[in-house]
Amino acid sequence: MELKSGKSQLLLSKIATNDEHGENSPYFDGWKAYDNDPFHPTKNPHGVIQMGLAENQLSSDMIEEWIKKNPSASICTAQGLHAFKNTALYQDYHGLPQFRHAVAKFMAKARGGRVSFDPDRIVMAGGATGANEMLMFCLADPGDAFLVPSPYYAGFDRDLRWRTGVRLLPVTCQSSNKFQITLEALEAAYESAQKAGIKVKGLIIANPSNPLGTTMDRSTLRTLVTFINHNQIHLVCDEIYAATVFCSPSFVSVCEIIQEMECNHDLIHIVYSLSKDMGLPGFRVGIVYSYNDMVVNCGRKMSSFGLVSSQTQHFLASMLSDEEFVDQFLSESIRRLASRHDSFTKGLEEVGIKCLKSNAGLFCWMDLRHLLKEPTFEGEMGLWKVIISDVKLNVSPGSSFHCHEPGWFRVCFANMDDEIVEVALRRIRMFVGKCKEVDVQVKKSWQRNLRLSFSTLMYDENMGSSPRMMSPHSPIPQSPLVRAWT
C-alpha cells in the first residue's frame, strides 16, 4: 500500500465510515439553514425559527428559582462544599443511592403514584440516547431485529442500530385510524420477518409518542403486552415524555399494565430521562429500568460507558427529593404545556391547518397534505424546502420519521417564548395565504417559478455550499435522519 500518497489509506472501521449516523441525509439542510441564519427577536428578526428541536424550556424558571433557593444542592457553593470531596471521588457504576431513590420517586410521581419503582433496578446511561443503545446491546445481537411502530423518532435509526448492528422493522400505522398501532399490522410485520428468516427480539414503542404526541390507551397496551408475552419477545418502552401529558386521556405506563395482567416480567424494560419532563437535556441523565435481573446486571456494567456526572447526581438527588417542589413543578409544567399547545394549535386551525389530536409531548403532528403539490414524498420534500427557505421555519418532515403517508410534519412549540410563537404563526398565516392565491394560477408555471426561486434562495442563504446537498429533487432519502436529534 502506498503510504505516502494517502491519508485515506489509513483505514478506519466500517462504523466510522458508513452513513448509519444519518447526518448526511437531506434533512440536515433544515438544521444548516437554522445554524446559518438563526432567529433572534431583536438581532435577527427574519432568521429561521427553530421548530425542529423537541426541547422543553417552558418551565426552566421554576428550576432556576429552586436552584437559587437551595444552594446546598450545588457543590460549588459555600453550603454545598462539604459534599465536594466524596462526590468528586464517587465513580461507582451503581450510582449514588440517594440519586436512585430520588429518581425512583420522581418516576412514580410522573405516573400519578399508580406505580412504584425499585431504586436498585435503576441503571444510568448517557441520556436517553445512551439508554436506548444500551438496551439494544443487552437484548439483541447484530442482525437481530426490533419492531417499531412508525412514524417513529428519527434518532432511533442511529441510536438503536449504528453500533449495535440491530435492525429496525417498522410497523406501519395509518392516518385513517389516527396512527394507532393495530394488532393486525403488528402480527403481519412479525410474520413477514419470520418468513424472511429475520430473528425478531422485541418491540420498541415510545409512549407518549414522538412525533405524534399521543399516548396509548389501556387496551392497546394490553394488546401489546399480550403479543410480546405470547411470542416471548422483549418490550422496550421509551417513556421519556411521561410527564408532558397535559390533557386527558391520562398517561398509562406499561408498568401499570403488567401489574394488572399475567406477563413474563423479564421481557419488560423502560427507558427514561429528565431531558423532556424536566427540561434538563444538558445534564445527560438517561435511565434504564428493567424488570429483568440479567439486564439490570449487564446494563449496570455497561453504564461505565455513560455514567451520569456525580455532581449532577448529587444535585438531582436533592432537587427530586423535594416532594413539594416536584409536585408543584409537574402540575405547573403541564398547565403551561397545555396552554402553549392550545394557543399554537388554535393559531394553526385559523389558517386551516389541522393537527393530529394530541395530549402529550412538546410538538404537534401537522397535517399539510392539502398544501402538497403532489401527494408524494417528492411533494413533501418540495413543501419542506419551501417552508425552510420561504417561511423560514425549521420543521421536520414526516418522511424523516418513516411516516408511510406524505404530507405530515412535526413542529415543536415548547422551546420558545410566546412572542416567538406569535412570529411563527404570523409567518405561517402569510404562507398559507400566499398558497391560496397561487392556487388559482396554472400549476405548472408555479412549480417552475418555485424551483427557480428556491434554488436562488438556498444558494444565497448557504453561500456556496455544496450543490449536491441543496437538491430539491432528492428522492425518498436513504438515511432519513437529522443531526442532533432530540
Binding site: 489509513l10 472501521s13 460549588c76 457553593t77 465536594f84 465513580q91 443487552c138 445527560r284 455532581q311
Partner: protein
C-alpha cells in the same frame, strides 16, 4: 412486583440436543459416504426427531429453582442464546433471551480486580468506625490533593450551580441541548490543561478535542472507529484490566498481549512487538493498532522519546494506528520527563493521522466522579466520527461549566499540578521504603498512582494459582485489596499492583503491619 415463575430451565433440553447432534452428524457422514444420500439423511433425522419427541414428553423436573439473589455474585448461570435453542423453546414461558453479549457480561465477574473492588465496597476501612475493614489499594484513585480543589472552591464560591465566580449564566446556558462533543470553552480549557499537565512540551489544539464521559468511553469510541469487530490491537502486557472491558465487550476488538519481562524492567521491546504482529498475521488476525499506556498502568514506567519514535516507525511500516492512553501524564514523580505521543506526531507530519491520544481528569485532577474524558486525534475523519459517537457518552454541561472556571485559573492549575506531584512523590517514597523494610522490592517507576510490587518469592507454587492464593490471603487475612498480575495479563507470576494514593501518611504503617503478617507466613523456610 409479582414475577411469573419461569418454567423448567433450558439446560434440561439442551444437553440431550447436543448429544443428539453428536450422534447424528458422524452417522450421517458415514451413511452418505457410502452413497446412501436419502437414507443417510432420512434415518438419522427420523431418529433425531423421535429422540426429541421422547425427551419432550419425559422432561425431568428442575433440580434447583434459579435463586433470585440480588447480589451479582450469585447470579445463576444462564445458557448462551443460540438460534437452535430459540426454535425449540418458542412458545414456552421460559426465561427471556437476552443477547449473547449480555449473557457473557452478566456472569459474576471472576476477575480478582473486580472481586477485590466489591469486597472493599462491602467492608471499607475507616480509622474510626471500621478499623478492621479492607484497605483499598486496588483502585488507582488520587485522594492526596482534593483539599487543594476544595480550597479553590471555597475561595471562589458561588451562589449556585448556575454561575461560578459571580458570572451567573441562567439555566439556559447549562441545561439546554449543547454540542454533544463538548462546549467550545470547555474544549479550550481541556486543551490548556493537557498542555500544562504534560509539561508544556506540546500545545494541544482545542479543535482536536472531543469530550466524553470519562476515559472509559473515550477508549471504546476509538475502538469502534479504528477497528472492525474481530480485528485486534497489540497491547504491551501487563496492562490495565479495564481494557478488556473497554475494547472487547461491545466493540469486539481483540487484545493481543505483547509480554514485557522483569529482566527488562517490564519495558516494551520492538522485537516482541514484531513477533506478536507476525504471529497474529499467521493466525489470520488483522491488527489495526497498538494501544500503549504512558505512563504505564500497572507498572508505572514511561516510554522515552526514542521508543516513541520507534513505535511510530513500526506503525507506519505496517500501516496501523497508535492509541496512547496518557491519563496519568500529569501524575509523574520520577526524575524522567514525560514525553507525549503528540510531541512525536507534531514532528512527523506525514504520520500524524495514525496517532490518537486518550486523556481525562479522573487521575491527574482527582475527579473521577465528574466523568471527564478526552479523545485527542490528529485524524480529521476519526474526529468527525468520534464527535458523532460521543452523543452516547456526553458530559453534563453543568460539570463542564464548573470546570471551565476552575481550569481557567492558570495559576491555580500550575500550583495544583506541582503540589500534587510532590505529594505523590513523598507518598511513593514512604510506601516503597515501608515495603523494603519487609524485604519486598518494586520495579523502578516514575509515573502513575501505584507501584508494581515483586512478591514472587512468596508465592508457592510459582504460578498463577500460587499468585491467586497469595492475593486471597492479602484480601481476606491481611484485609488489603491489591491487584494481582494475572488480572493484568502479566506473564510472570507473583507481581502485584499496589495503589498508594488512596492512603494518607498515617495509614502506611497500618498497611505495612498487615503486610508483615502475610509476608512472614509466606516466607520460604530456610
Amino acid at each position: 412486583m409479582t414475577r411469573t415463575p419461569s418454567a423448567e430451565p433450558k439446560e434440561s433440553n439442551r444437553s440431550p440436543t447436543r448429544t443428539g447432534m453428536r450422534l447424528i452428524v458422524p452417522l450421517q457422514g458415514i451413511v452418505q459416504g457410502r452413497g446412501g444420500l436419502i437414507l443417510g439423511s432420512l434415518i438419522p433425522c427420523t431418529l433425531f426427531y423421535f429422540l426429541q419427541f421422547y425427551l419432550k414428553r419425559h422432561r425431568s423436573p428442575p433440580q434447583n429453582p434459579p435463586s433470585r439473589s440480588t447480589s451479582a455474585a450469585n447470579l445463576s448461570e444462564l445458557p448462551r442464546s443460540s438460534s437452535r435453542a430459540n426454535l425449540l423453546s418458542r412458545g414456552s414461558t421460559g426465561r427471556a433471551h437476552v443477547s449473547a453479549r449480555a449473557s457473557s457480561i452478566a456472569k459474576p465477574n471472576a476477575s480478582p480486580y473486580y472481586i477485590g473492588l466489591d469486597r472493599v465496597r462491602e467492608d471499607p476501612y475507616d480509622e474510626m468506625s471500621n478499623p478492621d475493614g479492607v484497605i483499598q489499594l486496588g483502585l488507582s484513585e488520587n485522594r492526596l490533593s482534593l483539599d487543594l480543589i476544595e480550597e479553590w472552591l471555597s475561595r471562589n464560591c458561588t451562589d449556585s450551580i448556575l454561575g461560578v465566580g459571580g458570572d451567573a449564566l441562567g439555566l439556559n446556558g447549562i441545561a439546554t441541548y449543547q454540542p454533544m462533543d463538548g462546549l467550545m470553552e470547555f474544549k479550550v480549557a481541556m486543551a490548556d490543561f493537557m498542555t500544562e499537565a504534560m509539561g508544556k512540551t506540546v500545545s494541544f489544539d482545542p479543535s482536536r478535542v472531543v469530550v466524553t464521559s470519562g476515559a472509559t468511553p473515550a477508549l471504546e469510541i476509538l475502538s469502534f472507529c479504528l477497528a472492525d469487530h474481530g480485528n485486534a490491537f497489540l497491547v504491551p502486557a501487563p496492562y490495565y484490566p479495564g481494557f478488556d472491558r473497554d475494547i472487547r465487550w461491545r466493540a469486539g476488538v481483540e487484545l493481543i498481549p505483547v509480554h514485557c519481562r522483569s529482566c527488562d524492567n517490564f519495558t516494551l521491546s520492538i522485537t516482541a512487538l514484531e513477533q506478536a504482529f507476525n504471529q497474529a498475521r499467521k493466525r489470520g488476525q488483522k491488527v489495526r493498532g497498538i494501544l500503549i499506556s504512558n505512563p504505564a498502568n500497572p507498572v508505572g514506567n514511561m516510554l522515552n522519546k526514542d521508543m516513541l519514535y520507534d513505535l511510530l516507525d513500526f506503525a507506519r511500516e505496517r500501516n496501523i494506528h497508535i492509541i496512547s492512553d496518557e491519563i496519568f501524564a500529569g501524575s509523574t514523580y520520577g526524575n524522567e520527563e514525560f514525553v507525549s505521543m503528540a510531541e512525536i506526531a507534531d514532528s512527523e507530519d506525514a504520520d500524524k493521522d495514525r496517532v490518537h491520544i486518550i486523556y481525562g481528569l479522573s487521575k491527574d485532577f482527582s475527579i473521577p466522579g465528574f466523568r471527564v474524558g478526552v479523545i485527542y486525534s490528529f485524524n480529521e475523519s476519526v474526529l468527525a466520527a468520534s464527535r458523532k459517537l460521543t452523543r452516547f457518552s456526553s458530559v453534563s454541561t453543568a460539570t463542564q461549566k464548573l470546570l471551565v472556571s476552575m481550569l481557567s485559573d492558570k495559576r491555580f492549575i500550575q500550583e495544583y499540578l506541582k503540589t500534587n506531584k510532590q505529594r505523590i512523590r513523598s507518598m511513593y517514597d514512604l510506601f516503597v521504603a515501608g515495603l523494603r523494610e519487609l524485604g519486598v522490592e518494586c520495579t523502578k517507576s516514575s509515573g502513575g498512582l501505584y507501584c508494581w510490587v515483586d512478591l514472587s518469592r512468596l508465592i508457592s507454587p510459582y504460578n498463577e494459582k500460587g499468585e491467586l492464593d497469595l492475593w486471597d490471603k492479602l484480601l481476606n487475612r491481611a484485609k488489603i485489596n491489591v491487584t494481582p498480575g494475572s488480572a493484568c495479563h502479566c506473564i510472570e507470576p507473583g507481581w502485584f499492583r499496589f495503589c498508594f494514593t488512596t492512603l494518607n501518611e498515617k495509614e502506611i504503617p497500618v498497611v505495612m503491619e498487615r503486610m508483615c503478617k502475610v509476608v512472614e507466613s509466606c516466607k520460604p523456610s530456610v
